[in-house]
Amino acid sequence: MKGGSKSKVPVSIWCGHQLLEVLQCISSSWTGPDLSVLAVRCYPTLPPRYLQVPGHFWGMALALTLRSNRSQTCSIPLTINTKSITPEKQRGKYAALSIAAMVIVVGLPLWWKTTETYRASLPYSQISELDTLQLQLTMEVDVIFTKGTLTAEQQNKVPMSQTQENYYKMNDKTGLRYRYEMKYRTATVMEDSALRMESVQEADVSLSQLNESPSGSLVIYVIPETSGLLPDGINVYMGIYRTAILRTSLHKEAKMEELLSVIGPKILRIIQTVTFTNNDIKASMSDRVPTGKFTKESLADSMRAFKSSYEITFSLLNPDPKSHDLHWDIEEAVDKYIQPFLDKLSGVANFSVDSQILYYAILGVTPRYDKTISSYTLSAESLPHVINPVEARLGSNAASSNPVLNFLLYVPDYPHCPLYIKDQNGATVQSNAFHSPRWGGIMVYNVNEKYLDNNRFPVQVNIDTVRVMEVFLAQLRLLLGVQLAYVPDDFLMESPANQGLTDWELDRFLWLRTLENIATATTTLTSLAQLLDEIGNIVIYDKIASQVYNAVISVQAAIAELEAGNLGFAFQSSKEAILASEKAFFDPSLLHLLYFPDDQKFAIYIPLFLPMSVPILLSLLKIAKEFRERRNMAKKKD
């Protein structure tokens, strides 16, 4: 035995033929007594295979206790240098380790990087903040006491301003706080003189000139009970601008606080009527807060998911061109009646108007003959079936993908003349028209009887566009959600005349749309974030991420502007928010989900990765085992 003895391990060997070999090796270098019988015990720590190795391998320091056949025990100090593991073996170990290291350091990241889907980071935390929405609507209301309503003493005590707050909890995650900032003052001389005008309409016009009220605010003039400006039975007048006139009696002796508590509910009633009620809000925020029941007036009529552009198509349906030769001056009618209305809404959305005439287009329902009124009728139940067959003929707008609002004017064919629409109660509908939410409206136009006496066909018919456009404009207002749901008896609403829309109606529309946009945008964003979070295979490009960021910023801006009471800005921000969020949500690139089902992935990976990783893993295991053994051995020695 050569080499210095560093550690000696006593070993008793009792295994079969393996020991012979070892002993032979040992004996070859040993000049001790004759070894014919021996008892060998094997330490469990030294697996036999170390002893299997041929003679020149001295992997371990060994000390053998040998017992001769004469039961003589002799201890043979078998000294083996532990450091004498061959350099060859050591090199193999290092090679295995370095390959494993290379695989882990270079290979795995490379594989990860090349098979990774690109996912731009999204503002998840901000989006989750938007999940709970506490909105505050701030509205400025100027309450102006005109001459004769207050005594001089009372006038001095008029408070500058007063804030009134209401909280409306819609559900756990959504709440609304209305904040009315009432500013009280007495009327100026000019206002007083304006209110002394002949008619209330004139007063309205001149008051609006005196008082430039911003979008989203309201001016209420309180006039004395004795004033003859308003007709009898009417206590509140709402002009075409943002001015309301309230006629009320105030006690001369009452204190200011009492007065305000008397007048407060009345003012609140005006505000709620001309702006919005909780139900309106609920309807417009139905995207966030699912309403249990589908109330026809509030929900069905409103145009949900308001888009930024609309195509309005007027179609004249002439099912019987042999009998009727129809002409309508649609161009002039649109310019006169529809365009002013659309111009007023131009800040809200873009509209384009077109028209067409469709011949031989029939309704899907055969009208029934009603003997009592000797005319044909369409019952309310059959109306849903009217639209579908007609729609096939309407054709979509080939040149754009904006939503279309269809307005159909149906002139019944000669054998089915006249034709009336009946409502649920069986009464004929006055306008002879109906509308379908988010789709459009249909009006039945009966050709004047006197034409039909003349037996020469086709009968020349010039359509009365005023009659038609009245109906269509009303339907358009309904479809866009500008219509007022409920007007109390003692209110007088000035009709918007040529413009089609009053200022306060526009404000009301903007309030509701802003809330709706915020509600829709936040739900879109949360569901998008949730979707992207759940499906890891979806690629998120920077373009989409920037849209999402834009949407989040715009929503936050809209909420802030609402709080500050800037309705116009709030609406613009909410519009941007909804556009950006929809754009991100419906972006086609989100559909390019990298579809690698796991089974296919493994079918491709296994032929390469399995044969490559198995040797590495095995040698790593081996090395680890050896290392552990040596450590154990070292421990034992200690």
Binding site: E88, G92, P321, D354, Q356, Y360, G395, P458, L608, M612
Partner: protein, 669 residues
């Protein structure tokens, strides 16, 4: 101008007169006609009133003719070839009849103040019995609208007769002209003669954009996807790899202020199958849909049970009046169908409207200003009475169509007179002889096929026939070949009558892989009575495996090549007719319609490309991985294992020997 007018006015009327006497008066009657017409039109302009469409129609055509300058020799084929539908003299006749019995339209006009309408609709059907026993029916619906769709200041958005969808497309994409055709089957020129409007199998779309369009390629891309929506066709497969910009073959047909080919896009999808779903949207564009008028005959189950079906939409601006200061928009919807003698006609040479379309005609479309059915009776009137037409009508007309003098029987649906005892019109055509007659070969036709063998190279052969006995004429040949057939343009050879025939003009744009196709245009002079063979070799490219269609072994289509030519008229060939006309009219051999424009489409080609086994990618992945793994495994072992000399174990022979030795009791080795 005068020549052009003279050329187009040679239309004849037959109203119970002996044809000979009338004919001798025709030319000078025509002169009168021209004058009276122009007088009427000036009067009309003074009144600013539009009353009779026929005159307007006439003026359009005049205008079309006038506009045709020699440089645009190729540009006005339709205006010439479709003269048959402008029976000017007939309008005269119609007027006369209206005086006797006021037509419905007049009745209407009297009953109220007719509001000014600026659009008109005409419909007509031409039935031509073919010598093979088949029947060719060609519908044409024409909507004319006096408005400017491209006006940017005032958007036109109110539509009456003109379909809204197409109008919006035109104004949105600033289109100058749009021609789209859907064809199922191949027009057999040799058997059937030339069609009124040729079309290649599949879908052909060519569009001239307005010169204000900035990004033509983008507009083209959007337009194709919009059109594929309108017509329910796979037009969205049109991309840069099959779009070309022909330099000379496709010039604007309407009023044009652009002839720069940058604004032209042309594409053919030869693979597209045309069926009912394309017909329905096409019918929807008609004002009367298929509810009234001639369109009631368009029943898809009959139309597609035919040997050739082609439907097309042509939109182009035309002149509103002689001065051409304003333009109108014209929409022509055409539908041609050839019913097969054996498949549809049960091999009986007897046709009727009912047998062809399973419908009869009852009334015109109430919106149409004219509604007529023309039946080609040229064969009957030649004397040998080949075909009998019932019910016979007195109104006949003659027109030179595609260089051939044809005679038509005219059924006017606007007149209240009933045809026969029933209120419906069922035109009956009956051949007297049951065997087919040989047709004169058409003056120009072409064939094309792929030659060569193997999957590496091949040859495209195009044979162009000039059957004119003594006139040579030039043709413009246009080939568009996809990039995966790499043309060897140096092998291009044009051979007529055994001799090389050098093209006088060649426009070639080489392809670029996956970007655009080859475009080859040549102007070739065809010698009389000759066959010209154009040959070019190509190499088949290997595609990437994702570029193959789902059925790659079906082959790849190469779209038809297009021949545009000014063909000498066959009328000039006819020596007999000189006896019927005064001698002074034909001192010079150049006569009316000495040549006419014609477009001929060859067969599309079907070429096989080398097709891989498509399970290959996975096999390749597995095989490569295995090879890599084996190589890696050995390398890994080499690097990590230790090696030592080992006692060589006893060899097999030695072991066997030892076993035997043990058996024998001999000590082992």
């Amino acid at each position: 101008m005068a020549g052009a007018v003279f050329g187009m006015l040679l239309l004849f009327v037959f109203i119970n007169f002996g044809s000979l006497t009338i004919k001798s008066e025709v030319s000078h009657l025509d002169e009168e006609q021209i004058f009276s017409t122009s007088k009427v039109s000036t009067e009309e302009e003074h009144q600013n009133q539009v009353s009779d469409t026929n005159f307007h129609h006439h003026r359009d055509t005049l205008q079309d003719e006038e506009r045709t300058d020699p440089a645009e020799l190729w540009t006005s084929p339709e205006s010439r070839s479709q003269q048959y539908e402008t029976p000017l003299v007939e309008s005269h006749v119609e007027e006369g009849r209206q005086n006797e019995a006021p037509a419905t339209r007049n009745g209407l006009a009297e009953s109220g103040q007719p509001p000014k309408v600026n659009d008109r609709f005409q419909e007509e059907l031409v039935i031509r019995p073919l010598l093979s026993g088949d029947v060719y029916s060609s519908f044409q619906f024409r909507t004319r609208w006096d408005t400017d769709l491209l006006n940017k200041q005032k958007k036109v958005s109110h539509f009456r007769l003109f379909p809204k969808s197409l109008g919006q497309v035109i104004s949105k994409f600033s289109i100058r002209e749009l021609h789209i055709s859907f064809t199922q089957g191949f027009w057999r020129t040799q058997q059937w003669g030339p069609p009124f409007l040729p079309a290649p199998p599949g879908v052909e779309l060519w569009v001239w954009f307005e010169h204000t369009v900035q990004d033509v390629d983008r507009s083209w891309k959007e337009l194709t996807s919009v059109l594929s929506g309108i017509f329910c066709a796979s037009l969205n497969f049109i991309d840069s790899t099959n779009t070309i910009q022909p330099s000379a073959s496709f010039k604007p047909l309407g009023v044009a202020n652009v002839t720069d080919q940058r604004f032209l896009r042309y594409a053919v999808l030869p693979r597209e199958v045309v069926c009912t779903e394309n017909l329905t949207p096409w019918k929807k564009l008609l004002p009367c849909d298929s509810k009234a008028g001639l369109a009631v005959l368009l029943k898809s189950e009959k139309l597609f049970h035919s040997s050739f079906h082609s439907q097309a939409v042509h939109i182009q601006p035309i002149c509103q009046d002689l001065q051409c200061k304003k333009t109108s928009w014209e929409l022509r919807q055409t539908l041609s169908v050839v019913f097969d003698l054996h498949a549809t006609g049960q091999s009986k040479r007897e046709w009727s409207l009912f047998k062809m379309f399973s419908r009869t005609l009852t009334e015109p479309c109430p919106l149409a200003s004219t509604s007529k059915v023309y039946v080609d009776i040229t064969e009957t009137s030649k004397g040998d009475d080949l075909i009998e037409v019932a019910p016979a009508v007195t109104l006949q007309m003659q027109a030179v169509v595609l260089g051939d003098r044809r005679k038509y029987m005219v059924y006017d649906l606007m007149t209240p007179e009933p045809y026969g005892s029933l209120r419906s019109l069922n035109i009956l055509l009956k051949w007297k002889l049951q065997d087919s007659e040989e047709m004169l070969p058409p003056i120009l036709h072409a064939e094309r096929y792929v030659g060569g063998y193997g999957l590496q190279t091949g040859e495209i052969h195009t044979l162009i026939y000039n059957n004119h006995p003594f006139r040579a004429f030039p043709i413009l040949l246009m080939e568009s070949v996809p990039w995966y057939l790499r043309l060897y343009i140096h092998t291009l050879s044009v051979i007529s009558k055994g001799r090389e025939n050098k093209p006088s003009y060649i426009h070639y744009r080489p392809s670029k892989d996956r970007q655009y196709p080859h475009l080859l245009e040549m102007l070739v002079q065809l010698p009389p009575n000759s066959i010209t063979k154009v040959t070019v070799q190509f190499e088949r490219a290997l595609l990437k495996w994702t570029e193959y269609p789902p059925d790659p072994n079906h082959g790849f289509y190469v779209s038809s090549s297009v021949l545009s030519a000014q063909v000498p008229s066959a009328v000039a060939l006819d020596a007999n007719h000189t006896t019927e006309e005064p001698l002074f009219t034909n001192l010079f051999p150049i006569m009316e319609e000495s040549s006419y424009f014609m477009r001929v489409y060859t067969e599309p080609l079907l070429v096989n490309l080398p097709t891989p086994d498509f399970s290959m990618p996975y096999n390749v992945i597995c095989l490569t991985c295995t090879v890599v793994a084996v190589g890696y495994g050995s390398l890994y072992n080499l690097l990590t294992r230790t090696f030592q000399v080992e006692e060589p174990s006893a060899g097999l022979a030695k072991r066997i020997a030892n076993v035997i030795r043990r058996l024998r009791g001999v000590p082992p080795l």
